[in-house]
């Protein structure tokens, strides 16, 4: 039974249901032979069976239904009156149809049911010539035959033997061979003992629950309502659990724990009722692939794995379009033309694989093609041309990041716009749609080998685990799906842990720069100036991680997502609201919305991110690496300062420069910060004719004293292996290295400061 195609299964369920009504209708017709509505209903039932049987090439089934339909047609037209004989014949037709359906259900193929007599009877009735044959026919058949399909049929259905062999074996039985049919077949070498055992088992199982008994149709509206009620129950549960926490009486605790367990199980159960196999969406894809590959002149074989992976109905709806788009993209852009494939030494027929599986409470869907892959450099060039990124950014990007540029807005990778794609619905829309339902999408590609799109989506949207955080007096929920980790900075760390790079706050998390967003200021509130402890919630959105600073982090809780009213659509920071255990409303933060609003994906962070990732990869091979701050100095030259020497990055107005002790200083944090121009110190020329309005200053701490190094510009932070050559102690240069494709001087800050600090000259010159 498990072998039956799902569509056939649906057909069977539907037909059983129709036949049940068919019987009722016939009985009603007997009571009131003139009821044309009932005749029409019976006619429709048989017509549907006939049509669908024709579609699946169940010829005998179709033939019987066809004859019955002819008879019913005459009844409907009023050319024949309903007699008991006709009603009996039609009822018997229903029984026979059921029996034939049962055979199909058990074996997957039509049985050998003999319908000749019945069709003859129906034809006779149709032509108006009555016959008393009905009584003869209407005898119950051998009971055993009815419940258990014949072994031979099962074996044929499994493809384990041929109809001829079965006929021969049956003939031998008729001639007096008292062996069982399976034994004869095995002896003849027409099948294997294993197959017979399996078939016998199937025969035994068959009288169990058939499809019509084990499944019912339920209105989706009812399921939605149940889901809502379960949501309410979860809220009430949360409330009770919270109240009981304050109670001393242990009886309450026991009852609430039970309530807790039952609610969780009920929630899971109801969620399951809304689950549908992803195959329901995939069903449409073979056609899409076929039509598209024909249109493109390509040969594509579609392989699908894990069709029965289940997802919530609403999510299935939501991923339908993005998935279709990804598949179209793979055929249109991924897989090459047969000639190109042959030239590359690949099979002319390309392969597109869809794979779905559950992992860690999420559903993963992979769309993999064995096509030409994505050229990261072509993408970068395009991105630069479209001003999506700068050439500098492109230089520091990993290939993987470059490939993910296809998700940038307004991108079409096709050389020319085809009828298939390039219609404005780009990959950016795919990503947005997937992220709207809390999913992620990532592309990996190897040139010449193919491309793989990985989509991760949550199982359901209605009830999600969330982290509760506070900002001021307000509580907010953050869906746990976007959560990566929590970071807590205390004491000195809280003050120094958040630095400014290029004016944007960042936190150095295990050597990586994490852009920081303050929740309070995003909410348009006053951010608390100084905090004893800083709580950072590290989140992921848009392929980028960022840290959200909140006042306090509370528990995680199961929350029931409720939509916001139309009056709050403009507040893009919230994806919904929920009701907490104490009955108050809490807003759910839209992580993607916050990331977009705070422009987390700025040049600085993107570039530094790229550098870091490169560094990480390198780190696996080399032990030593440096984290360097890249600065521009003088005439388009670059220098690098070890980030460990850097205290802060600041920007001062040129007008704020004062003079003290014969050198440039600025007031900084109630102190005097001496300034030192790096270009002068390295002897690479001045800053040109005009004074810029603002000076970029790298604040360093050298031997306990703060010094501001004035640079031309702050470019980037990179973390990579540095191969130093030609150090020049006299100039204060540790050496030169190739960084981001350019020769860069790595500055020895201590030496530079010592050499150029008149105040120190005396003290340290001799040392």
């Amino acid at each position: 039974m498990s072998e039956i195609d799902e569509i056939v299964g649906e057909f069977l369920v539907e037909s059983y249901e129709n036949l049940d009504r068919y019987d009722e209708d016939l009985l009603a017709l007997e009571r009131d032979p003139g009821d044309t509505e009932v005749i029409s209903s019976i006619f429709r039932t048989i017509h549907t069976v006939k049509g669908t049987a024709g579609f699946f090439a169940f010829d005998r089934l179709g033939e019987l239904a066809h004859v019955a339909e002819n008879l019913l047609g005459r009844l409907r037209e009023g050319e024949l009156a309903v007699t008991e004989e006709i009603a009996s014949a039609l009822l018997f037709t229903g029984d026979t149809l059921r029996k034939m359906l049962a055979t199909i259900e058990a074996t997957g193929v039509e049985g050998e049911e003999d319908v000749a007599e019945l069709t003859a009877l129906l034809t006779r009735l149709h032509t108006g010539a009555g016959s008393p044959l009905v009584a003869e026919l209407d005898q119950p058949e051998d009971d055993e035959d009815e419940v258990a399909p014949k072994l031979g049929e099962l074996l044929i259905g499994e493809g384990a033997t041929t109809p001829d062999a079965v006929a021969l074996a049956a003939h031998e039985q008729d001639l007096g061979d008292d062996r069982r049919i399976g034994e004869i077949l095995v002896d003849h070498g027409q099948t294997t003992a294993d197959a017979v055992d399996k078939a016998v088992e199937a025969q035994g199982n068959d009288p169990g629950r058939s499809l019509s008994d084990s499944s019912i149709r339920v209105d989706v509206g009812l399921l939605d309502e149940l889901m809502n009620l379960v949501g309410e129950l979860v809220l009430a549960r949360n409330q009770i659990v919270q109240l009981v926490g304050e109670e001393q009486d242990s009886r309450y605790a026991g009852a609430s724990q039970r309530l807790n367990l039952i609610t969780t199980e009920l929630q899971e159960g109801v969620m399951k009722t809304r689950m549908q196999p992803i195959g329901n969406v995939w069903n449409k894809l073979p056609r899409v692939v076929r039509d598209l590959s024909l249109a493109c002149g390509k040969q594509v074989r579609l392989v699908m794995e894990g069709q029965d992976t289940e997802l919530d109905k609403t999510i299935i709806e939501a991923i339908k379009d993005p998935l279709t788009h990804l598949v179209r993209n793979a055929v249109d852009h991924g897989i090459e033309l047969p000639a190109a494939r042959a030239a590359a030494g690949k099979a002319e027929e390309g392969q597109l694989t869809l794979r779905a599986f559950h992992e860690g409470g999420q559903v993963n869907i992979e769309i993999t093609d064995d096509g030409g892959g994505i050229d990261p450099h072509a993408l970068q060039q395009k991105a630069i041309a479209k001003r999506a990124i700068t050439a500098e950014q492109a230089a520091t990007m990993t290939d993987r990041e470059a490939v993910n540029l296809i998700f940038a807005a307004g991108f079409s990778t096709a050389e020319e716009v085809t009828s298939v794609s390039g219609r404005g619905v780009g990959m950016d829309v795919v990503r947005t749609n997937i992220e709207r339902i809390g999913g992620t999408v990532d592309v990996q590609s190897e040139q010449g080998q193919g491309t793989s799109c990985k989509v991760k989506i949550p199982l359901t949207l209605a009830i999600v685990p969330a982290l509760m955080v506070t900002s001021g007096d307000s509580r907010f929920a953050i869906p746990q799906l976007s959560l990566i980790e929590l970071v807590r900075l205390e004491g000195e760390e809280a003050r120094a842990g958040i630095e400014l790079v290029h004016g944007a706050p960042v936190h150095r998390l295990r050597g990586r720069l994490l852009p920081i967003v303050d929740l309070a200021s995003e909410l348009g509130r006053e951010a608390s100036a100084t905090r004893e402890t800083v709580n950072i919630v590290v989140l992921q959105a848009d392929g980028q991680s960022f840290g959200l600073v909140v006042d306090a982090i509370q528990d995680t809780e199961e929350i029931v997502v409720k939509p916001l009213g139309s009056h709050l659509k403009e507040a893009a920071l919230f994806s919904g609201a929920t009701i907490m255990g104490d009955g108050r409303v809490a807003l759910i933060l839209d992580v993607l919305g916050i990331a977009e609003r705070a422009r987390v994906v700025t040049e600085t962070t993107e570039r530094s991110g790229a550098g870091e990732e490169e560094g990480e990869v390198l780190d696996q091979r080399h032990v030593e690496r440096r984290t360097l701050l890249l600065v521009g100095i003088g005439d388009d030259r670059r220098a690098a300062i070890a980030l460990s020497d850097v205290e802060r990055l600041e920007e001062f107005a040129s007008a704020s420069i004062e003079y003290g002790g014969g050198r440039e200083v600025v007031q900084y944090r109630d102190d005097i910060l001496p300034l030192l121009r790096l270009a002068d110190a390295l002897g690479v020329g001045s800053y040109g004719m005009h004074q810029p309005e603002h000076l970029d200053v790298v604040v360093n701490r050298v031997e306990g004293r703060m010094v501001g190094i004035v640079v031309g510009s702050i470019l980037d932070i990179v973390e990579q292996d540095v191969d130093l050559r030609d150090g020049d102690e006299g100039r204060g240069v540790l050496g030169s290295a190739i960084i981001q494709g350019r020769v860069t001087d790595v500055v020895d800050i201590d030496a530079v400061v010592t050499r150029n600090d008149p105040a120190r000259m005396g003290g340290y010159a001799g040392v």
Binding site: G524, G565, H567, A571, F574, I579, R584, V585, L587
Partner: protein, 146 residues
Amino acid sequence: MAASIQYCTFSLAHLTFGIEVDRVQEVMRSRDLTEVPLANEVVEGLINLRGQIVTALDLRRRLELPPRDPAAPPPMHIVVRTNSGELSLLVDAIGDVVDADEATFEEPPETLDGVARELIAGTYKLDGRLLLVLDTERAVQLPSPV
């Protein structure tokens, strides 16, 4: 036919307003409100109405009336059914339900100006006071923020 319509009355500042009774789902005392940052200034917050989340609008701000005296008793909620779903309107105090004779219906008075004039469908003269009929659908359409 001297048909009459029932209005649920409420007061805002010194004015008396009315909403058709069949629009009003319920009237509630002040309750916990969750503020929505960055929302339209008319949005006072969100309330939990038996498991349903309902947006509360401050009618004073909508009608551009002077802000509520902080010392005054907390505002009342009138939950109304509108085309944009259920909404709660914050008012100073709830009055009686009155039967207004359709024959006494008049256009909004000339003395009203600004936003209030746009949002008032008309008036009834009750004994000794004027009942301003709120055009509920228009009142809950928020002006785009300037």
